[in-house]
Amino acid sequence: MRNLRRFTTVILGGLQLVMSLLTTEPVLAKNQEIKEFLLDNGLKVIILEDHSSPTATFQVWYKVGARNEVTGRTGISHLLEHMMFKGTQQHGKGEFSRIIARNGGNENAFTGKDYTAYFERFSSDRLALSVELESDRMANLLLDEREFQLERDVVKEERRLRTEDDPVATVVEEVYAAAYKVHPYGSPVIGWMSDLDAMTVEALRSYYKLYYSPNNSTVVLVGDVNAEEILPNIREHFGKIPRGPVPPKVLSKEPLQLGERRIHVKKEAQLPFLMVAYHVPNIGHPDEYALEVLEKIVSQGESSRLYRKFVYETQMASYVGGDYARVSADPTLFYFYGGLRPERKVEELERGILEEIERLKREPVNDQELEKAKNQIEAAFIFGRDSNFYQAMQIGILETIGVGYRALESFVPNIRKVTKEDLMRVARTYFTPENRTVGILIPEKKEKSSSGPGF
C-alpha cells in the first residue's frame, strides 16, 4: 500500500560474501569489498567500493532518533535535523545546499525512530566536499534563535501535511501511541504538535552537544571510490573533532501487553481503514527470520495471501498488506492493514484478516509458498545492490542500531533455514489477542460533500 510502508522496515540486499555462497553465479561483483576504520575520537568509517557507475553516496549516521526523546520533547531529533541545514560559522545559512547543488549533487537528511542521517549523492570526484561540509556541521552548528523559530514553523507544516491532514497516517500514529505505553516508539518521529510549540533553541543546543559527536556516529561511503585515497581526507577533517560525551542509554522496556487495545479515529474521510498490530521481536532475535518470511507470505506481490483474498477474490479491500519493522533497535511491531472498498464493512475485513492470521497458526504453508517467499527475499537482496544509496542505508542502519553491517552476510542463509514449523510457531507466539492493538478509521462525511466536486 501507499502511506504505510516505511522506508526503513525492510532491509534486504547486500554483500558480495553472501551472494557467492548462495547462487550459482561464479562471481557477482568482483569490485566489492567493505572496509571499516575506527578513528581515535571514536568515529567509525565504513567504505564499500562499487564501481558500477561513476557516482557515490556519502552518509553520516547519528545514533539518535525519536527513541532517545523524552516526554515533552518529542520531535527534537527531527527538528535538529532541519536545523543542520541552517549554517555554521564557516558556511552560512543555505550555503551547504548551494555548494552541493553547484557541484551537481543531491543532498537531504532523514530521521527515524533509531537514527538521524544526512547524505549527499554525487559524481564520485566531488566527495571531498561532503567530508569538509559534514565534518563542519558535526561540530560547529550555529543554532540561531530566529532560524529556529522559522524552521519550527516549517516542521509544523510538515506535520500538518504528513499526519494531520492524512487520515490513514493519523491512525498509524494512534496505533503506535496505543501499542507503546512506556517505550518511546509510541511517539511520532515528527513530534506531537504541542511539543513542537514548546520547543526551545536551548533544548536543541544541549541535544546537539549530547548526541552529535564522532563517537556517536558512523560515516558510510558507497560507490566509485578508493578507500585509501579518501581516508586521509576523512581523518584530517573528522579526526580533529574531539570526542563527545557518552549519551545516556535508552532504558525503557515495553511491558508485556495483557489484553487487546483498540483505537478509533473519526475524521473526514471517504472510506474506512483498518490496522492490526502485534508486538514482535526485532533484529537480533532468532525469530526475526521467520517473521520476515511471514511478512512476504502475507504481503509480497499479487499472489500473496492478503492481496489474493481481500483485493482479488472477495474484493473487500482496495489495498491490503503486512509490514514487519524488523531492523530496529528495540522490539517492534508487525502489522496488517487494509483500506476498504465502498459498501464494505470494516468489521468484515477485520474478521477476515484475523481469520488469515489464525490460518497461519493452524495450517502449515505449502512448500511452493515458502520457497516463493525465500526467493523473493533473495532476489530483493540482489536487486538492492543496484543502488549505492540503498546499500549505504543498509550499512548505516545496522551500524546505528548496534547490530553491525555483518548481519547482512548471514541474512539470506538464515532466511533459507526457516521451516514451516517455525512460521506456525511464531504466528502462535506473537499473533495473540492479548498482544494486539487494533486501529480503525471511521470516516465522517461532511454534509456539504454530497454536492461537492466530482473528484
Partner: protein, 451 residues
C-alpha cells in the same frame, strides 16, 4: 515513520527534468522488422535484467466519455492471457522474486519487467504474453472496474491529488490531458469489453513500441530475446499524438474546495509547453531558478526559508508530448494561504521583470549538467531514460547534445522564456482547504468560485 527534510523533488522536478550531459557509452539501437525500437545497454555488474517498454497508448487516446480506458487496458494486461490466468501470472513472477507491471500515463503505456538474469527467459515469455495476447476476460474486467472505482474514491482523501485533478481539468480545457488517466466515477462504468479490445488492437502495436533492455545481457542476447518474444507482433499503423495549443484564460480563474483540513493545498499555474518546444532549454533553466531547483530556488527560499510558510514548495513545467502545463504547488496552514499565493505570484512577476543574476544562471547550469550521472546510476533509471529519449525523438546524441543546449542559454533567454511562458496575471488557482479559515482572495479581486 521517517521524515525527510524535503521530498518534493521527486514530485515536482521530475516532470520538468529528466535530462543531462554525460556519455553513457555504447547504447545499441536496433529496429526490428516489425518496427519495435530496441535499445540495449549491457551492464554486467549485477546478475539482473531490467526491461522497460513505452508504447504510444496513453490516455491521450481515450475516446470522449471513455476516460480511463487506456488505464484499464494496461491494468488488465497482467490479469490473464490466452494461455495464463491472472493467478498463474502473479504466481510465476512472484515465485522468482521478479516484478512485472503495466500502467498508463497520459502519453504512453509503460510495461516493465525486473528479474534475475537466470529468469530472463521466463520473464520475457511473461512480458510478451501479457503484451501480445491478453484475454480481457469479462470477470477480470469487472474486477478491474471495481478496483479502479474504489481507488478513485480513496484518492479523494489526498488533498494534493484533489487539487491537482481540478487544476488539470481547468488548465487543459477539453484536452484529454485534463482528465485523470485512471478515469472518472462517471466514465468507468461505461467502458465495455469491446472498447478495451479495440483500444488494445489499435494502439498496442510493435511500430508504436520502444523497449529498453538493461543489465546483465549482451547486445546479441538482447536482440535474440527481442526477436523471439516480440518478433511475431504484427505491425499496423497507429495514430500519432497531435500537438495541441491550449487557450490562456483572459483573467484569473479561482476554485476553492472546502474540506476539513489544517492546510490549504495550493496549486497555481497555466498552460505551458510541449516537450518538443524549441525554447525547452531556456524554460527548463528558468524554472529551475524559479522553483524547480532543490533547496536553492527562489520560491523555496522565499516561502519556506524566509517565511516558514510551507514544508514543500516548488514549480514545474510538465512537458508532455502534445502540450503541457506550468504550476506552482505548495501546502500551508489555512490562515497563511493568501500570503503564500501572493509571494508565489510575486516571484513569477519578478523573474519576468529582471534578468536573473549571472551566478544564478551558472549555478543552474552547473547543477543540471553535474547531476546527470545520478540520473543514470541504476539499471531501472537507464532503461526508463532511454525510452524517454526515444519517445520524444531526442536522438541518441541527446546525452551530448543536452549540456550543449543548456550551456548556450543566456540571461536574456531566461528573461524571454519567463516573459513568454509565465502568466502571473492570467492563471488558474485551485485551493483545497478550510474555506472559512483560508478566506482566499486575490489582491486584484478576481471572483472566487467555491465548490
Amino acid at each position: 515513520m521517517k521524515c525527510l527534510r524535503w521530498s518534493l523533488i521527486s514530485l515536482l522536478a521530475l516532470a520538468a527534468f529528466p535530462t543531462m550531459s554525460f556519455s553513457l557509452g555504447t547504447i545499441d539501437r536496433t529496429v526490428l522488422s516489425n518496427g519495435v525500437v530496441l535499445l540495449t545497454y549491457p551492464r554486467p555488474t549485477l546478475p539482473i535484467v531490467y526491461v522497460s517498454m513505452r508504447l504510444r497508448a496513453g490516455s491521450v487516446f481515450d475516446p470522449a466519455g471513455k476516460t480511463g480506458l487506456s488505464h484499464m487496458v494496461a491494468r488488465l494486461l497482467t490479469r490473464g492471457t490466452l494461455q495464463r490466468s491472472a493467478r498463474e501470472i502473479s504466481e510465476a513472477i512472484d515465485f522468482v522474486g521478479g516484478e512485472l507491471g503495466a500502467a498508463s500515463d497520459e502519453d504512453y503505456a509503460l510495461v516493465t519487467l525486473k528479474v534475475l538474469k537466470k529468469d530472463v527467459a521466463l520473464g520475457m515469455d511473461l512480458f510478451s504474453d501479457i503484451l501480445l495476447q491478453p484475454a480481457f476476460l469479462p470477470e477480470e474486467i469487472e474486477r478491474q472496474r471495481s478496483e479502479t472505482l474504489s481507488e478513485i474514491i480513496h484518492d479523494k482523501d489526498d488533498p494534493g491529488k484533489v487539487a491537482d485533478k481540478v487544476f488539470s481539468q481547468i488548465v487543459y480545457g477539453g484536452h484529454p490531458y485534463g482528465l485523470p488517466t485512471e478515469g472518472l466515477e462517471t466514465t468507468i462504468p461505461g467502458i465495455t469489453r469491446e472498447d478495451i479490445v479495440r483500444f488494445h488492437e489499435t494502439y498496442y502495436r510493435p511500430n508504436a513500441a520502444i523497449v529498453a533492455i538493461v543489465g546483465d545481457v549482451s547486445v546479441e542476447e538482447t536482440r535474440a530475446l527481442a526477436e523471439k518474444y516480440l518478433g511475431t507482433w504484427v505491425r499496423k499503423d497507429v495514430p500519432p499524438i497531435a500537438a495541441a495549443q491550449l487557450p490562456v484564460p483572459s483573467s484569473p480563474v479561482v476554485k476553492v474546495i472546502d474540506k476539513d483540513l489544517t492546510q490549504a493545498n495550493i496549486i497555481l499555474g497555466h498552460p505551458g509547453i510541449r516537450r518538443g518546444n524549441p525554447d525547452y532549454y531556456a524554460v527548463f533553466i528558468m524554472n529551475y531558478i524559479l522553483g524547480g531547483g532543490g533547496f536553492s530556488s527562489r520560491l523555496l527560499t522565499n516561502i519556506r526559508d524566509e517565511r516558514g510558510l510551507a514544508y514543500s514548495v516548488g514549480s514545474a513545467f510538465d512537458t508532455k508530448y502534445a502540450t503541457g502545463a506550468f504550476h506552482v504547488s505548495l501546502q500551508t496552514k489555512n490562515s497563511t494561504a493568501n500570503e503564500a499565493i501572493r509571494e508565489s505570484l510575486r516571484e513569477m512577476r519578478k523573474i519576468r521583470q529582471e534578468l536573473v543574476r549571472a551566478e544564478e544562471l551558472q549555478e543552474a547550469k552547473d547543477y543540471l549538467t553535474g547531476s546527470f550521472p545520478l540520473r543514470l546510476d541504476s539499471n531501472a533509471k537507464i532503461a526508463d531514460y532511454l525510452t524517454y529519449v526515444e519517445f520524444h525523438e531526442l536522438g541518441l546524441n541527446y546525452f551530448e547534445e543536452f549540456p550543449r543546449r543548456l550551456a548556450a542559454v543566456t540571461r536574456e533567454d531566461v528573461l524571454k522564456a519567463a516573459r513568454s511562458y509565465l502568466h502571473p496575471e492570467t492563471f488558474v488557482l485551485v485551493v483545497v482547504g478550510k474555506e472559512a479559515e483560508a478566506k482566499i482572495h486575490l489582491d486584484e479581486g478576481a471572483p472566487v468560485e467555491s465548490r
